[in-house]
């Protein structure tokens, strides 16, 4: 190229952009101008001017009103033609099209659903202004346990910290709703002054809580949620100033929060917010019951805020060693605190869904590949008639675009269906499940995924066949046969590798789930119902009245027909608890706050152990005499007996959690361990104290009946109403449901990963069957020659199976390698089984290989059994090939020496 020639790229661009009639003239003029510019202005400025020609021309305006073949309308028209042509092609082979659309629909649908879940639960912002500055502050004990803070600690943090714009505490707590209607239990939170400021949200109607509401003897006020306003007040805008009875106390409604406000816990569905009493802030420093959230100042970050609070905590530890020794703080982003644990399992699910999509794509690519081969004559014809390469590329891309868009639509349908089908599983296993929806973001994801798949699928067959049409009438067999065969084998190997990976994951999740379900909980949940009663408010300020209430209710239930046992506890097994530390009578000198183990504390009413069938190991269960608050008897579990007393006999020993002025309680019995903190959490030291020692309002009543325990609920309700007509019964469940709830996460993982693995297995099996059937059909001719040359049925059978299974087994080995590589990561999600457990691997491999073998056997048997003369077979190859969609096989040239030229023997040795 001489120095004054117009450079290639701008020239090509102009060639595309300029209308045809004036293209040559304009480019000639531009070239002349360019030459002139080069000599007058120098090459650099000449180039700049040339590029200005390309960039500064308002092409869009020109196209719409310019030449007779403007580019953009031309593209649109071409696309329309291509799509129409593609649609006709697809309609012409409905079986093929249905297969492709279902496969793609499943792949895209699985990803759409999983992305919808991930987006709703993890990616969706919490929805508050600058929510990246919202944090939760946890108190971390010397024993490593993290949790809520005590009132006085929170008050000191709030006063001394310089890192927070606002710091607020709350105590979650359902409350009893009284008034005219039937009593009900609603979701509430008692919040400190700065709660609403922390979240930066104002009331939609009225006001939020203000400092005046927290003064002693201030009128009790309540802020209600949008949902509660709708339900309880029929969205009456004159709600402000009306009275609501909460825990028997009238509260004046001062505000309605905007729709969607759900702080502090983002998925709690709060009904009401009331003021946290000053009394809560003045409780003992070792009563850590307040949850703390805060908004960081703009000049503070997580690290500096944590440093700041830890310095304060260190000062408090020095000042109050009895309660705060070794206690420090942690600052965690709010989203992380509530959703952090879900990240791993959800991303794992995302990976599994991605693997399914990859398998689906490879499957469809295989089908399109076979079709591309079948369409070589068509391609050759179109080339012969003058179609340019680019035009054909566009045609193939448009067809795959069409397939993927329709596949995407099928996928969206499947995703919608599966999300509603799994709705209850999602709700039980995931917080924020209400946010899961197929919104614009998810649909955009689906569209992008479909487009990506479309490009990949459109290019794959072209890359392999290269439009090896050649002149019409020439041998249209692909010159790239070997390459295509290799690509097909790669597809099979990749599919098997991915499926094996998924199958291993699924078997691991299933085995983990089974391991969890077979765990001994230490009690017998079958046939037990539970309900919550919370006698609180003015009428129950006197603890003796609460005790009398529960005694009355339990006596009433005990006398019901069909009830075999009844009791009550402050904390249901599997649902967490509250703990304390104790000192042993006679060993006070040994007690060191920081080293003493945490002891779970359950308050029980008589009959609890019998109802739950918790076995007595030694001593006895609590009896009426143990309920004397001045000389109480208590029951401990085996772990506590072992940890505190070792070889010593625990019976008759006395313990106290009051350190300064001990209030001794005598151990009268030892019971078996119960899993208090979840199915997968080993039992911890636990003691059961009589309700009278610590008569707090909320108790779970447990009832064992003959048959279905839920049938007892109506009569139980009548008993409660007879004792107190104003007190609501809430949270009615069976213990089996409690157990299922505790295992929901496991069940969710096992169900979804198994489902995805199952889908993958079906896709792969169908895929390999299709590939093998086609392979066998395409090789009818070759098989005929092999048989003519002396191969028997067994040889043929073996040949077909080996050809199919070799890449499959290669894939299996690759999958095994990948699985072993990923095993440490998977280890975090399994329970009761090693991630590399040989039985798991063997099971998964069998599950994957067997259907693969079967998929090969059927076509292989057909190939080997087809009766008749090999010559007929060879002659018939054209028509059979056509049936299988491979009209490409038209001519057979047997050369006297060496391998027949156009027989594709792949890597197999010649006959």
């Amino acid at each position: 190229m001489s120095g004054t020639e117009i450079p290639r790229l701008p020239r090509a661009l102009l060639g595309v952009l300029l209308p045809r009639e004036i293209r040559a003239s304009a480019i000639e003029d531009i070239s002349l101008a360019y030459r002139r510019d080069v000599s007058e202005l120098g090459p650099l400025r000449a180039r700049l001017r040339l590029w200005r020609e390309v960039v500064a021309t308002n092409w869009l305006a020109l196209w719409w009103d310019g030449g007779d073949t403007p580019l953009l309308p031309r593209i649109v028209e071409d696309l329309r033609q291509d799509l129409w042509y593609g649609a006709r092609q697809l309609l012409r082979s409905p079986v093929f099209s249905t297969g492709v659309l279902i496969t793609l629909g499943i792949g895209i649908g699985a990803n759409t659903a999983v992305f919808g879940i991930v987006r709703g639960v993890l990616l969706q912002p919490l929805g508050y202004p600058d929510d990246d500055r919202l944090v939760t502050v946890l108190s971390e004990g010397g024993d490593g346990g993290r949790g809520p803070a005590s009132g006085p600690d929170f008050a000191d943090w709030r006063e001394l910290t310089r890192s927070f714009e606002a710091l607020a505490a709350y105590a979650p707590g359902p409350v009893n709703l009284g008034g005219d209607g039937e009593p009900a239990r609603i979701v509430g939170a008692r919040v400190s002054e700065d709660m609403f400021r922390t979240f930066g949200v104002q009331a939609a109607l009225g006001r939020v809580l203000i400092p005046d509401d927290y003064r002693p003897r201030a009128q009790s006020v309540v802020v209600v949620s949008h949902g509660f306003w709708n339900r309880g007040f029929v969205a009456d805008s004159a709600v402000l100033g009306r009275s609501v009875t909460l825990n028997d106390e009238p509260h004046v409604v001062v505000g309605v929060m905007p729709e969607g406000f759900n702080a502090p816990v983002p998925w709690a569905r709060y009904d009401v917010w009331t003021a946290l009493s000053l009394q809560s802030l003045a409780e003992g420093r070792d009563w850590r019951r307040l949850h703390v959230v805060g908004r960081l100042r703009s000049d503070a970050d997580l690290g500096s805020a944590e440093e700041d609070l830890q310095a304060i905590a260190a000062r408090l530890a020095d000042q109050y060693p009895a309660s705060n020794h070794g206690v420090t703080t942690r600052v965690i982003p709010l989203g992380e605190a509530y959703l952090g644990d879900l990240r791993g399992p959800l991303w794992l699910l995302g990976l599994a869904a991605g693997a399914v999509l990859l398998i689906a794509c490879v499957n469809v690519a295989g089908m399109l590949l076979a079709r591309a081969v079948a369409r070589q004559e068509e391609v050759a014809m179109r080339r012969a008639l003058g179609a340019r390469h680019g035009r054909l590329v566009r045609q193939f891309l448009a067809e795959s675009l069409l397939v993927c868009l329709v596949g995407g639509a099928v996928g969206i349908f499947l995703a919608r269906w599966s999300l509603s089908a799994f709705g209850s599983l999602l709700a039980s296993a995931l917080p924020r499940s209400g946010e899961i929806q197929l919104d614009g973001g998810v649909l955009a994801f689906t569209a992008m995924a479909s487009l990506g798949v479309a490009v990949a699928l459109g290019l794959a067959p072209m890359a392999s066949t290269g439009f090896a049409g050649g002149p019409l009438g020439a041998d249209p067999r692909p010159r790239h046969g070997r390459a295509r065969a290799r690509l097909g084998k790669t597809f099979v190997a990749v599919q098997f590798a991915m499926t094996l990976l998924l199958a291993n994951g699924a078997v691991l999740m299933l085995r983990s789930y089974l391991a969890v379900t077979s765990i001994e909980l230490g009690l017998d949940p079958d046939g037990v119902a539970t309900l919550t009663l919370t006698p609180e408010g003015a009428r129950y300020e006197d603890p003796r009245r609460r005790q009398a209430f529960f005694s009355g209710v339990l006596d009433g239930i005990r006398s019901l027909p069909g009830v075999t046992a009844v009791g009550a506890t402050s904390k249901l097994p599997l649902e967490g608890g509250s703990n304390t530390k104790v000192m042993i009578d006679g060993r006070e000198g040994e007690f060191v706050q920081a080293q003493a183990p945490l002891i779970e504390l359950s308050r029980v009413m008589p009959g609890y152990f019998e109802t739950m069938r918790i076995p007595i190991v030694s001593g006895r269960v609590l009896e009426e005499r143990d309920f004397d608050p001045h000389a109480p008897g208590i029951v401990i579990n085996q772990t506590m007996a072992r940890r505190l007393f070792g070889a010593e006999a625990p019976l008759g020993q006395r313990v106290s959690w009051e350190i300064e002025r001990p209030h001794w309680m005598t151990i009268v019995g030892v019971v078996g361990d119960v899993r208090q903190w979840g199915v997968e959490e080993a039992a911890v030291p636990e003691m059961y104290v009589p309700y009278s020692v610590l008569p707090r309002p909320r108790m779970f009543v447990v009832v064992r009946g003959e048959g279905d325990p839920l049938t007892l609920i109506p009569s139980i309700r009548r008993v409660v109403t007879a004792v107190d007509p104003l007190l609501p019964v809430s949270d009615v469940r069976t213990m089996d449901e409690v157990r299922a709830g505790a295992m929901a996460g496991r069940r969710f993982n096992a169900a979804l990963v198994s489902l995805l693995a199952g889908i993958a297995l079906v896709l792969v099996t169908a895929g390999i069957y299709a590939v093998m059937a086609q392979h066998a059909a395409r090789r009818t001719k070759e098989i005929g020659i092999r048989m003519a040359l002396g191969a028997d049925s067994w040889d043929t059978f073996r040949h077909v199976v080996t050809t199919g299974m070799t890449p499959a087994l290669l894939g299996v080995f690759l999958g095994l390698g990948a699985f072993l590589w990923l095993a440490p990561l998977l280890g975090r999600f399994v329970f009761g089984v090693s991630a590399t457990d040989p039985f798991t691997v063997a099971t998964a491999t069998t599950f994957v290989v067997l259907p693969g073998l079967l998929a090969c056997f059927v076509p292989a048997r057909r190939a080997a059994r087809t009766p008749g003369d090999p010559r007929a077979r060879i002659r018939s190859s054209r028509s059979e090939g056509s049936e299988a969609g491979t009209e490409g096989v038209t001519r057979l040239v047997i050369q006297p020496a060496g391998r027949p030229r156009d027989l594709d023997f792949g890597d197999e040795p010649g006959p």
Binding site: L18, I22, E53
Partner: protein, 111 residues
Amino acid sequence: MPKGQNLGEAEHLVLLAAFRLGADATGADIRDEVARRTGRDLTVSAVYVTLLRLERKGMVTSELGDPTPVRGGKARRHFTVSPHGVELLYDARERFDRMWEGLGPAPTGDA
């Protein structure tokens, strides 16, 4: 004036430049003429596409000339304003003149 016979600003400039240059102006000549007289630096492509549009509306005609006398030079299209185009130009001028009637010179900046 029939509908669709209005002149856009670029069309007006290009048509007028072609008219000034007389018969057989090329796109580059027209661009240079516009640039010299108005300072508007149109691109060659824009001039050509505008000319194509004017030709469709019957305001200019074109024919291929001799190849450019350089190595590899190609024939260029030469444009001439049609009588219809001339008529439209004078119509446009008359309309503008009538609109300007009675208006003084441009006000100065410090007025």
